[in-house]
């Protein structure tokens, strides 16, 4: 079948054809970008933390009226409270291990610094987040130690958190960036100008920062129990005993010292699964919203194609009858409308692909958005063509069923 008669016929329905082309183009532009946003969010939500997440619990609390300042007596007083808490938690039947740990991935409260090879901080510098905690922190978090050793109990200091520990454990990306030859273990580095030695390397540990960044996995473990008005512990429950461990912990902590605060929602005792759900709530929401909009868009556009093609078929009933009377087979009529739709959808998709890149460009200049991969647009184009073919099927069938006798009837 030649395309020429189809184009000639379309020329007589310029506006209607233009409307479908426009609708398909806009739908493609929006759907491609929305799918890209969904893809990005899913990718972000799938990022591993490096933790053994199941059974992990975090406790954050405040000692109201705790003294501030660097007075040694105050610090010792706070440290005694902390050690009592840790011992109490360690004694609970459903708790496997417990550690002091200032932060946890996905929480967004964090401190950072720069690790360098020289004391003058010139040259190679790696930005990283600091996790302060005791010798139980690495095993409790379930981090995979790939080289070196854990902190010894004797290496744990306590007091205000400063990144000046003589020994540190770093995540693999930090080690690799500082020592591309893979010999990071045992090397001397400087944290904000203060000397330290790498004694261990963990495979992966995400920073507490949720946003994407080029240092998302640059983490450093510091052997220091932070004594502050805010105290934070991590706890590993026996398998399947997470809820029990949480309620035991709450009861035990308030029994040992009731003068503590756990104001929800940001403090309290939370399973890591809750922390994860909360951290990605808006990402999940955005993905959900974009999915709903995509579904509505595709339905509306499909329905629009059905509606307009039906109108066309209705208008051309007589012409179809004439063609049938002149010897066209049913399949010819069906093909006619299918090819016509392919042309329209193809035109719409071509314009839509350009629009999709244009919209992405605009989003990139105004919002945090990265370049739209061609794959999304290619999938979008195929989806539009498939949608067009599916939508045209019903009216095209109806057209092919027009009997030749219609040609001889009036109206």
């Amino acid at each position: 079948m030649t395309v020429h008669p189809i184009l000639a016929a379309l020329r007589r329905h310029k506006v209607a054809a233009f409307l479908i082309v426009l609708q398909i183009a806009l739908t493609l532009a929006i759907v491609a970008n929305a799918m890209f946003i969904i893809g990005q969010r899913i990718e972000r939500m799938d990022r591993p933390t490096g933790l053994d997440e199941s059974g992990l619990i975090r406790i954050l609390q405040q000692w109201p009226g705790a003294p501030s300042g660097d007075d040694v007596g105050n610090i010792e007083q706070l440290d005694a409270l902390q050690r009592t808490d840790l011992d109490t938690l360690r004694g609970l039947p459903d708790v496997l291990d417990v550690a002091a740990s200032t932060s946890i991935p996905l929480l967004s409260g964090y401190t950072t610094g720069d690790i360098t090879l020289n004391a003058d901080q010139k040259g190679l510098s790696v930005h990283a987040a600091y996790y302060y905690g005791d010798q139980h922190m690495r095993p409790t978090l379930g981090l995979h130690l790939i080289a070196g050793r854990d902190f010894a109990a004797s290496e744990i200091r306590h007091g205000r958190a400063h990144a000046d520990s003589p020994v540190i454990i770093v995540s693999k990306p930090v080690a690799d960036k500082l020592f591309p030859n893979g010999n990071a273990l045992g090397q001397a580095v400087y944290q904000d100008g203060k000397p330290s030695t790498i004694v261990g390397i963990v495979e992966r540990l995400q920073t507490p920062r949720r946003a994407d960044s080029n240092w998302a996995y640059n983490s450093v473990l510091e052997p220091l129990r932070q004594d502050d008005a805010y105290m934070s512990y991590v706890m590993r429950a026996r398998p399947g005993r997470e809820q029990a461990a949480m309620s035991e912990a709450r009861k035990a902590l308030f029994a040992v010292n009731p003068m503590r605060l756990m104001p929800e929602p940001w403090a309290g005792i939370h399973a890591f699964s809750e922390i994860r759900a909360k951290a990605y709530r808006s990402d999940r929401g955005m993905a959900l919203l974009m999915s709903v909009i995509c579904v509505i868009l595709l339905c509306v556009t499909a329905a629009g194609i059905v509606g307009l093609t039906s109108f066309w078929v209705g208008q051309r009933t007589r012409q179809i009858g004439v063609r049938r009377a002149l010897g066209a087979r049913k399949i010819d009529i069906l093909r006619y409308f299918q090819i016509e739709n392919l042309l329209i959808a193809g035109g719409g998709a071509a314009i839509g692909a350009l629009l999709a890149f244009g919209l992405n460009e605009w989003l990139m200049t105004h919002y945090e958005m990265t370049r739209l991969p061609v794959l999304y647009v290619a999938i979008g184009v195929l989806a539009m063509l498939a949608l067009g073919q599916a939508a045209v099927l019903v009216p095209a069938r109806r057209a092919s069923n027009v009997p030749p006798v219609v040609a001889t009837r009036s109206v």
């Binding site: 209607a16 532009a29 104001p263 808006s282 919203l289 556009t301 329905a303 509606g307 039906s310 919002y367």
Partner: protein, 440 residues
């Protein structure tokens, strides 16, 4: 005549219920998606202090130098030295340095609370209250002299007043905050501007308003630590927890607000900031030329990207959906109207003017608009009620259903559908009676 057209429209729409339903659904979905995302956007992008925001300014001073900064702008907040210098020199009509505190209200023999209450508060200067028009239920703020004398005075919220003292005024009573006694001088009314534009984080959203205000100088004197954000120059370490260290560092952690009542005052203040920075340069503290900013509250919130970009992108995508729905409606109306060319021809031949055809078909579009509007209203209400499923709670509470939102929904649906109806109606009015009547 309108009644007749209405009857015609309803009759016509009933003839093709599928197509009619499709158009109404399309308008309904498009409008609801736009209005739901708009309600979130409206809630988050509102001006927290509309009557005064253009007279409130946030000074930013480049205390880090270009090589040390993370981007080209000066830091978002002030360090202690600059904030104190600006307060001392006192060049604006009103001004206050501000930092976040988070002490606890401790239980006492006479208080109603039996356990400590963690507070969300700020250390501020006396001019903070009149400058931001903080509403008082009882009492008032403190005086400039009280600032100087570092007196232990407190302004508390209505909510904290009820929690600790029950009903009635607590002005003149004493409250125990982190084991220090404070005399209450004022109780605010429910005050929770959104976003919290005077916070060092450059504005964020919070379900509850601040509970407590203490005097800045007193808070620093008793070492009440900064509970808000702090940012340090690249390559320097954060003093964390060491409050005196923080004051001596060039880390920024103090929010600052100045009231400047006219253009001349703004100009003078800009000049003053530049002079201040060049004095610092001369003194050797800054080794770079003055690079300051003075933005009013709306400009500062915009600069800080307070409204999450997701909100704006969602609104944009939803508007795109509405446009597609409208294009769809144009096509369907066109099909629907032109299918009735014969009917139009008969009406025209019997003497109906083009205007009459216009009126008839726009009425039909209007009926669809009303249908779409009602459906859109329903979906919008459902949408706004379910935003808490997809948004953090502090955002979700700001998306409200109010009469203006409902009215806007209906108006949008009507306008959009009538607009969509213009071209199909024009085509309908151009139908040539002779051609149609001649045709077999």
């Amino acid at each position: 005549m309108f009644g007749y057209y209405l009857e015609l429209a309803v009759r016509s729409l009933r003839r093709s219920p599928g197509l009619t339903a499709l158009m109404i659904l399309s308008i309904g979905f498009g409008v609801a998606a736009s209005m739901t995302t708009y309600s979130v956007f409206r809630g988050l992008s509102g001006d927290p202090i509309p009557w005064k925001s253009s007279r409130l300014f946030v000074p930013q001073i480049d205390s880090w130098g270009s090589g040390e900064r993370f981007h080209d702008e000066p830091p978002d907040a002030l360090d202690y030295a600059d904030a104190m210098a600006l307060m001392r020199q006192h060049r604006a009509a009103r001004q206050s340095a501000i930092y976040a505190i988070s002490p606890s209200a401790m239980p006492t023999g006479t208080s109603r609370n039996r356990s400590p209450i963690m507070l969300d508060g700020y250390a501020v200067y006396s001019e903070f209250f009149p400058m931001l028009d903080v509403p008082f239920h009882y009492g008032h703020g403190w005086s400039a002299d009280d600032d100087v004398n570092e007196l232990p005075l407190a302004v508390i919220s209505d909510k904290l007043n009820r929690q600790v003292f029950g009903d009635g005024s607590s002005v003149g009573k004493t409250i125990d905050i982190d084991n220090h006694d404070y005399r209450i001088v004022g109780v605010t009314r429910d005050w929770n501007p959104q976003p919290r534009f005077f916070d060092v984080e450059g504005g964020y959203y919070s379900i509850d308003g601040p509970d407590l205000f203490l005097s800045f100088r007193h808070s620093v004197a008793i070492n009440m630590i900064n509970a808000g954000w702090d940012g340090c120059r690249k390559g320097t370490s954060d003093p964390q927890g060491d409050f005196v260290g923080l004051q001596n560092s060039d880390c920024v952690w103090i929010a600052y607000m100045a009231e400047l009542d006219d253009v001349a005052a703004v100009q003078r203040y800009r000049q003053y900031l530049d002079d201040y920075a060049s004095d610092q340069q001369k003194a050797g503290r800054f080794r770079w030329a003055p690079n300051n900013r003075l933005r009013d509250v709306p400009a500062f919130l915009d600069y800080e990207h307070v409204v999450p970009s997701d909100t704006k992108v969602s609104l944009l995508v939803a508007q795109g959906l509405l446009i597609v729905c409208l294009v769809n409606t144009v096509g369907l109306l066109l099909a629907k109207f032109l299918r009735r060319s014969g009917e139009i021809a008969v009406r025209r031949a019997l003497g109906a003017s083009r205007t009459a055809i216009y009126a008839q078909f726009l009425t039909e579009a209007g009926v669809i608009g009303v249908g779409g509007g009602i459906l859109g209203l329903l979906f919008t209400v459902m949408g706004v009620l379910s935003v808490d499923q997809v948004l953090p709670a502090s955002y979700a509470v700001l998306a409200r259903i109010d009469p203006s939102l409902l009215l806007l929904t209906l108006l949008l649906a009507m306008t959009a559908t009538l607009l969509a109806g213009v071209y199909p109606t024009y085509r309908a009015s151009r139908v040539q009676p002779a051609w149609q009547l001649k045709a077999p």
